[in-house]
């Protein structure tokens, strides 16, 4: 039963991956600034035209773009979880690898220190 479940899950993941690859192959690019409703595309093509005399100049443009695209107030979280979500997925998978590696490394040798338990209750 457990073996069947393992192979079933692996086959499901493989099918989902193939579906994603086939679906995403013919998709257009996202977030290249062409459909921005603030003048970010023109700003990128002609940076000297932008009014940056006040302190909030470029920051206001960034915050406004972010609010229009994601509705999230915190810009850093929206970059980490939306614009670079693929990167975050890899970062999160590092942790599983770390747990597996720590299990293997810490328990290869049996530590014979049985009398050192300080269980109080």
């Amino acid at each position: 039963m457990k073996k069947f479940l393992t192979w079933f899950c692996l086959a499901a993941f493989l099918l989902v991956g193939v579906y994603a690859a086939v679906t995403m192959a013919g998709m257009p690019r996202t977030y290249d600034g062409r459909e921005a409703n603030v003048s970010a595309y023109e700003l990128r093509r002609d940076p000297a035209s932008y009014d940056d005399s006040t302190a909030d100049g470029a920051a206001a443009a960034i915050v406004q773009q972010n609010l229009d695209k994601t509705h999230a107030v915190n810009d850093v979280t929206s970059i980490v979880f939306d614009f670079r979500g693929y990167d975050t997925m890899g970062e999160a998978f590092i942790l599983i690898t770390a747990v597996a590696g720590a299990t293997v490394i810490l328990f290869t040798k049996k530590t014979g220190k049985k009398e050192g338990e300080n269980d109080e209750e």
């Binding site: 915190n74 942790l95 220190k113």
Partner: protein, 153 residues
Amino acid sequence: MKNNIRVKRVIQRCGCDAILPLCLVYIFYIILHGHLSPGGGFQGGVLMTAVVILMYLGHGYAATTHALSFNRLHGAEGLASTAYVALAMMGVAAGAQFCENILYTHGAIGQLYSSGTIFWMNVTVGLKVITGIGSITLLMLGVLNGQDVDNLK
């Protein structure tokens, strides 16, 4: 003082019991407000180390392994990572790119439930880091107490 060590243990246990629920509430505050204020899933989940170590300092190794199960934490970690990938695949299923935010019109700007998949990805990554860091800390406490890997349930 004759009972000095026992008094110290009572003080330690009471202090840990006082701080531990505050730590748990703080973890969930940071994770749930990740899209509104500084913080997020990674930063909130790492605080689970403090919770496990407070449990260990206050009540000892047996009570910690009685409260937290290593296998269950490890299973929840895999479940959370699968949920993250499923949330990211929602974009592909809806005709957009991988990890694209397709629910972002839910809720008003500044509300607790807003910004669509960013909120849910925060929750899944927070669960994943909580369980991963908790299981690593349990492993280290097990080595500190000379346990074998078979005894970690």
